[in-house]
């Protein structure tokens, strides 16, 4: 089957029910997307599919054929994604960094749909887990990004 990832076409040989995450990491070597829990609970594996954030560990690859997939490797090619990464750097959000690619994807998806989200919308969208507890830094960064567009 053929996948479109980061504006590039990939020919993939995988079972229909293989998780998208396995294909991205193991078959295509795009290892910026991380495996966390494997149960759609933590969000470390978040990628964008047609601009919506999905958890690739529970996404059967057959379901995303013909759709536009974006991973952390190409997030700075997106205007919103580029601003998010800049804010992350400015606020020095990352600690160990393992969950941060997923956090950046979640923030990017939020700001693409809702350029100036309310506090409640930010709370509702930024639900990925972080073992280091960087939540305060994440919140500050996203609030900054939200304010830029008010």
């Amino acid at each position: 089957m053929q996948l479109r990832i980061n504006q590039k076409a990939y020919e993939v040989d995988a079972d229909a029910d293989t998780p998208l995450l396995w294909v991205i990491r193991d078959d295509l070597g795009l290892t910026g997307t991380k495996y966390g829990c494997g149960l759609a609970q933590c969000g470390a594996c978040s990628v964008l599919v047609d601009g919506n954030v999905v958890r690739s560990c529970v996404t059967p690859v057959a379901g995303v054929v013909g759709r536009e997939i974006t991973t952390i490797e190409a997030i700075e090619a997106d205007d919103v994604g580029k601003r998010v990464v800049a804010a992350w750097v400015e606020h020095q959000v990352a600690q160990c960094g393992y969950c941060q690619s997923g956090q950046v994807m979640a923030a990017t998806a939020l700001l693409k749909h809702t350029p100036a989200p309310s506090d409640a919308q930010i709370e509702a969208a930024m639900v990925n887990l972080c073992r280091c507890g960087t939540y305060n830094a994440i919140r500050t960064a996203v609030h900054d990004l939200a304010k830029e567009r008010v």
Binding site: Q41, V58, G63, A124, V127
Partner: protein, 446 residues
Amino acid sequence: MNNRRFARTAGWLVLAGAVAAGVLAWYVTRQPASPFEQQPAAKADPALVSRGEYVARVSDCVACHSLPGKTPFAGGLEMATPLGAIHATNITPDRNTGIGAYTAADFDRAVRHGVAPGGRRLYPAMPYPSYAKLSDDDMRALYAFFMQGVEPANQPNIESSIPWPLNMRWPIALWNGVFAPNATYAAKPAQDALWNRGAYIVQGPGHCGSCHTPRGLAFNERALDESGAPYLAGALLDGWYAPSLRQDHNTGLGRWSEDEIVRFLKTGRNQHAVVYGSMTEAFNNSTQFMSDEDLNAIARYLKSLPGDPQRDGSPWQYQAATARADTPGAHTYATRCASCHGLDGKGQPEWMPPLAGATSALAKENASAINITLNGSQRIVTAGVPDAYRMPAFREQLSDAEIAQVLTYVRGTWGNNGGAVDAAAVNTLRGHTDPASSSPIILHMR
């Protein structure tokens, strides 16, 4: 004069009482007749043994007579009844602790009539009211398999913890007299061979009614075949709601084609649903091993059972969620559930089931919805390969109130109308399904 009449009446009464007691004693300990009585023991050929293995698969003997990861058929599964715990027995051909000394007639009486050698009655946790319908040919094959196809295991049976006098078995004979049939399946000439094969499997070895047919006050299945309206009409058991297998549009198989039924039983999933709850065991151990022909037969039979619009309610139709959902339940759904089941509730068939139109979201009984959310699903193993996607347990992550809110949202969105869930119901099931609690769920007869 009066005294003499009194003495004579009393004498007659004593005599009548003694006769009645004698008849009763005979009745409750008698050995039912078996067509295998006069048959000499002979070594069965391998084809019969392998046929017997198939019958054992279809009958799902292993589900109760084995513990996970232990010797097959050596027994040990604990079933807590309201009176105390009982344990499935060793049915390997070990002569001391198993059934190695059983003759074909002994075996027949145990499986089809619930009577062990010596006249002791089995508890109807053993589904002999269903197995009564097994054909003589299948019984012969089953016996050959258990005698020659199963490794003997020396594992003593565990005594039940039911106290005297409640542990007396003879009253079960009276229960049997009222509720357990004693005839094998008789083909309905008006129906074709496929339908009859399906009816035979569903009613007999498959014992689908053990879970899917509602039970009466005496724990009896309220119908044992299609002649009764409650047959396979859905029942609550062991903290799960086994849905209707009749043509009910919402809570049954009304929207499933025969092919989709076959697919579900063969692969554990189809576009409507994925096996979960107690059905996972039935799938892992039994239905996936059935031949395509038998699965087609089951589907044909089930599709012939009419639904009941009165019980089922108005037919479900998908409705897109209209109002912007900003309730706590909708929020929990978006963050915890939508990754797999979709914001639109349509899931990712066939891997993640839709919740829009799901039986668990349309049935008034909400036990399955609560149970799967608290405890997640069991591992589904298809052809030796474990599933890639599994419902996680939210027991530790969501409170009773949060689960109640999210299920109320699921059961009231996309056209679903199962009704709200309250936190108390979640709390009750949380307690009953906590393995560490003092009141774990009571396993009924299956």
